[in-house]
């Protein structure tokens, strides 16, 4: 379980997180939605210790990760996998080397056949094959995200963090990535935290939805509970897309 208590973070005097409180249950998909600049990505980066809060705590399985020394935090991160918005593949390595990277680093695997077997297994899980020799620059955006996900699950993490997984993808790729997130949770039983501003995608995959606005969680609950919320900011965010679509297609 991940517990976030009263998280505050400022950059150059600008307060981005103003006291975020949220509990993320094990084995479920929690989607954090919110508009651009609402602090979603900053929030996600605190969960894995990429950012340190000015105030507040993040407890992962009751361990305050920001109180850990740098080396212990590094060890602790093996429980996590993270898919970045840009996939963040190492551009000097091909697909095989990218997915094999955590295996070689942490499992100290040297047997190339065993590494190849695991890499192909992980790539098959994300629906890819026969691309191991390609460089990231030769892949489409959707494929890059799949490879990023294969790399994120290489060490069989307990928690997977997704930073805007569907941003910049066409509708078909978006649905494919959504299905992939669902299948990761169903097949591997992992805890998933997804940051997104895509409302459709959020309601399609979430067990729990939280909305962040103005640096705070303004609503959290099941998709039905969030949909039924009477908070104006929530309703405005959920209906904005419909309004925009009506405006374009009278």
């Amino acid at each position: 379980m991940i517990e976030i208590h009263n998280l505050h973070k400022s950059f150059d005097g600008h307060e981005v997180l103003k006291g975020v409180n949220l509990t993320i249950p094990d084995g479920k998909i929690t989607v954090v939605i919110g508009g651009s600049g609402s602090g979603k990505t900053v929030f996600l980066r605190h969960l894995i210790g990429l950012l340190k809060p000015d105030f507040g705590r993040v407890l992962v399985d009751r361990v305050n990760i920001h109180a850990l020394p740098r080396q212990e935090l590094s060890e602790f991160r093996k429980r996590f996998g993270m898919l970045f918005q840009s996939a963040a593949l190492f551009d000097s390595l091909d697909v095989f080397e990218n997915v094999a990277f955590p295996l070689i680093e942490h499992r100290k695997m040297r047997d190339i056949d065993s590494i190849r077997r695991i890499v192909e297994e992980k790539l098959a899980l994300v629906g890819l094959s026969d691309i191991t020799h390609k460089l990231p620059s030769e892949l489409s955006g959707g494929m890059r995200k799949r490879v990023g996900l294969a790399r994120a699950i290489a060490l069989d993490p307990k928690i997977i963090l997704y930073d805007e997984p569907t941003t910049g993808l066409d509708p078909i790729s978006t649905v494919a990535i959504d299905n992939l997130i669902l299948s990761m949770q169903q097949r591997l039983g992992v805890t998933s935290v997804v940051i997104s501003h895509d409302v459709d995608s959020a309601f399609r995959i979430a067990d729990q939805i939280a909305m962040i606005a103005d640096g705070r969680i303004i609503v959290s609950g099941t998709p039905d509970e969030v949909r039924a919320s009477e908070i104006p900011a929530v309703q405005h965010f959920l209906t904005a897309r419909d309004v925009a679509e009506r405006g374009h297609n009278p």
């Binding site: 894995i48 990429l50 740098r70 080396q71 840009s86 963040a88």
Partner: protein, 271 residues
Amino acid sequence: MENMLHITRDSLETLGGKIITSVRALGDWVEFVWHVICWTFRRPYRWPLFFDQMEFVGVRSTGIVALTAFFTGAVFALQAGKVYALFNMETLVGATVGLSLTREIAPVFAALMVTARACSAMAAELGSMRVTEQIDALETMAVEPLQYLIAPRVFATTVMVPLLTVLFNFVGIIGAYLVGVGILAIHEGPFMNRLYYMVDSEDIIAGVVKATFFGFLIAVISCYQGYKTKGGAAGVGHSTTRAVVLSSVTILVADYFLTAWILEFIIKTGR
């Protein structure tokens, strides 16, 4: 009067803000250097990465360093030969070039060449990795970027700049010899004799010690600039420019202080 007080207060506030920013940046840099040193000596030792960087920084710089050294030695001999000819002291050309190269020119020029060729590339590569979240990805995969990316670069540069300095000395003296003996028709015997007589191992060691400091400083500065890059492509450009400018200036400033220290403690004769 009130207006003047207002302007003075604003100026003091701006100055104070700049001082605080500078002190904070210096503190951040010192902390970065300390962490890099600590991670360099922590397991696992990443020998393949060290050797890759030693090849990139050292082996691939030999051509440009040798070329620069040859023409530096050659032009120095040409200038010195013309001036010394006025006093019939041409035989001192070898010694003059030898002393200048070993003590000053070789370490400074070798470091400047490595800054231009390798450190700029380090800053650009690390900056690009930062803005495309590749460094964050390393951290999330429980791999310490300071150990994986920075330590091999700093270690390799610290080792390779002194070796390139030795190469610079050797090739520079060949350049001076060819111009001095071949073109200016200085007798080979006195040319080499004065060179052996005047240039001691202390001079060569002094240059190599300087080069070791330069190598460490330029690598740390360039890696820091790349590692702390913010923004997109423009940020990478700014980091690379800052890395080259700061490294070059640091070489020249550090050279003065190192020379003062070396003349005090290594070359006590103060020739």
